[in-house]
Subunit: 319 residues, 2 copies
C-alpha cells in the first residue's frame, strides 16, 4: 500500500483539500477531486500540492497559514460565489476560482419564491388565523428589474421565460443582456427601477455597489414594489430600508441576505409585516454541495488538462 | 335615439347581461359584449335576448327566474371555471359555457407560489422573529404530480418547463398529457402520488373526485411531500388532512380552497404550522375580470358568427 501511494504521488498532480472543519463538505470535495483524476494531498506530501480546494466558507482566517505551507501552489478553488471574506488573501501569484455561477440556479428559484410570496401576499396569509380578503397580484407579465448581470440573472431570466415578464437588467455597461427587454448602466439605476413591480438585487458586493440602495433609490421605486435581495446585505442602507417599509415608500422587502448578517433578533426588520426574512437559504449547503462538487470536479479535470478554469476571480474587481 | 335603438335591435343579436349585483363585473361584461359586436338587452327587450351572460358567480338562486323570462334563449355564459353552484340549473335545452381555461394561468402561478412556499419553508421563515436554521428544498427537478388534466395543468406544465421537474398527471384516461413525463388514470392515484415531492390538486369537483384524498391517499404520499390544493376543498377529507398534518404523514399542505369554505376561524387547520391557507386567491376578481372579459368577447363574437363556443360545459359530466 505504501509503495502504491508513493508511485501514485510521483506521476499524479496533488491537490490539497482543506480545512477539515466541515466533514461532509471535505469528504464531498475529496471525492470530486478523485473523480476528476486528481490525487488528494495528505499531510505528509502537502508541500507538493499544486492546487488547493478550500473546504470551509467561514474559515478564511486559517487561509494564509496554509498557503505558506504550499510552495508549489498554482491554483486555489474557493467554495462560495462571493469571495469578499477572502479579499485580503487574493494573492496575485495564484489563480483563484470561486463557485460563481454554480449556485445561481437555486438562488434564482429563491428569487421567484420570494417575489411570489410578496406579490401574492403570503406574508399576510401565512400568519393569518382567519379567512382574509382576496388580495394579491401576478408576477406573470410584471415589470422585473434585476440589479446585476451574473449567473443568478442568467438563470432567473431563463426560469421566468414562460412568465412573460418585462425584464430590465442593470449592469456596469448597458450592453444588451440576453433575454432581457432592456439593459441599463449602473448610473441609470433610478430610471431602471422606477417602473418595476419587483426589484431583484443580484449584484456581487463591491465598493461600487455597497449602499447604492438608499433612501433616494427607494423613493424612486413604486409604492407597491417589492424589493428582493439575494445579493448581499451591504447593497442596502438597512436603516433607510426600515424607514421605506414603515412609511410605505415601497410595498415590501424579501431579504435572503442582511446587514448585519445574521440579523440580530432585536432588529426592527423582524417586526415589520411587509418584510420577509429568510436566513441566507437561496442556496443551502444541502442544495449547494452537489453543485460545488460538480464544479470542483470540472475544474480539477480542466486543471489536469491545462484548460482554462471556470469561475475565475478578477482579483482587482474583487469578484 | 329611440329610433336608432329600435333599428339596432331589429338587426342585432340581443344579449342579456345579468344580474347587476356586482357593478364592476356587470359593466365589464357589457363592454365585452359591445366590443364583440353584440347589443346588451335592456329590461324592455329582454325577451328577445338569445344569450345570457351571467354576471355574478354567487347569485345562482336568481338564475331560474331570469331564464324563464327569456323565451328566445339559446346560450348561457357562466362566469366561473367551476360550475357546481349552477349544477341544478344546467337545462339541456340551452348551450352552457363557463370560464374554464380562462383563469388557469393565474391559478397555475399560485400553485408555484404555494409549492415554493412549502418546499422553501416560508411557512416557518415568515412568522419567525429571529435568524433560523438554513433549511429548504428545491422545486427545481422535483417530482410533481398534478391531479387533473384541464387548463390549470396545461398552464402549470408550461410555466414549469425550464424548472426540469419530473411531472406526472392523473386524469380519467391515462392518455399522455402534453409536456408531462408520465400519465396515470384516476384509479392509479396512489401509485401516481407515491414519489411526489408536491401533489397539486387541480381537478374540477365531481362525484368521482369528491373525497378521493383521504387518509389512505395521504398514507401513500412521502412524509416530506407537500399537498397544494387549488381545485376545490371537497376533493379532500378535511379531518383526514388535519390528522395527516398533525402526525407528519405528509410534510405540509397549502390550501387555496377549503371544505368548508370560507374556513371558520375556529378550524384546527389555522393552528397547524405546516398548513398554509390562502383565501381562494389563485385568481382574484382583480386578476380575473380582464380574463373573463376577453373570454366573453371571444364567445360573443363566435356566437354572432355561428362558430363553436369556447369553454362548453358537459352537462352530464358537470364541468
Amino acid at each position: 500500500m505504501a509503495a502504491a501511494t508513493i508511485y501514485s504521488c510521483a506521476v499524479s498532480t496533488l491537490i490539497a483539500v482543506a480545512p477539515e472543519s466541515l466533514p461532509a463538505m471535505h469528504r464531498g470535495l475529496c471525492d470530486a477531486v478523485t473523480r476528476a483524476g486528481g490525487v488528494v494531498a495528505s499531510e505528509t506530501d502537502l508541500e507538493q500540492a499544486e492546487a488547493l480546494v478550500w473546504a470551509d466558507p467561514a474559515a478564511a482566517e486559517h487561509f494564509t497559514a496554509l498557503i505558506n505551507r504550499l510552495p508549489a501552489l498554482k491554483w486555489v478553488q474557493l467554495p462560495y460565489a462571493g469571495v469578499e471574506t477572502f479579499t485580503d488573501h487574493l494573492d496575485p501569484r495564484f489563480t483563484f476560482t470561486c463557485a460563481k455561477g454554480t449556485y445561481a440556479l437555486p438562488v434564482a428559484e429563491h428569487v421567484i419564491a420570494l417575489a411570489l410570496a410578496g406579490l401574492r401576499d403570503l406574508h399576510t396569509f401565512v400568519p393569518a388565523t382567519s379567512w382574509g380578503d382576496r388580495t394579491g397580484r401576478n408576477l406573470l407579465g410584471a415589470n422585473v428589474t434585476v440589479l446585476g448581470a451574473g449567473g443568478i440573472t442568467t438563470e432567473l431570466v431563463r426560469l421566468l421565460e414562460p412568465w412573460r415578464c418585462n425584464i430590465s437588467v442593470v449592469r456596469r455597461s448597458n450592453d444588451p443582456f440576453p433575454g432581457a427587454d432592456r439593459t441599463f448602466a449602473t448610473n441609470e439605476l433610478r430610471q431602471a427601477i422606477s417602473a418595476a413591480d419587483v426589484v431583484v438585487v443580484a449584484w456581487a458586493l463591491t465598493d461600487e455597489t455597497a449602499g447604492l440602495l438608499d433612501a433616494s433609490a427607494f423613493a424612486a421605486m413604486k409604492h407597491d414594489a417589492w424589493l428582493v435581495n439575494v445579493g448581499r446585505g451591504g447593497h442596502l442602507v438597512t436603516d433607510h430600508l426600515v424607514a421605506a417599509l414603515e412609511t410605505g415608500t415601497i410595498g415590501g422587502a424579501a431579504l435572503d441576505v442582511t446587514d448585519p448578517e445574521p440579523l440580530p433578533a432585536t432588529h426592527r426588520l423582524w417586526q415589520l409585516d411587509n418584510c420577509i426574512i429568510t436566513p441566507h437559504v437561496g442556496n443551502t449547503a444541502e442544495m449547494g454541495l452537489p453543485l460545488l462538487m460538480q464544479r470542483v470536479e470540472d475544474n480539477v479535470r480542466r486543471f489536469l488538462q491545462n484548460q482554462e478554469l471556470v469561475g475565475l476571480v478578477d482579483i482587482e474587481a474583487g469578484y
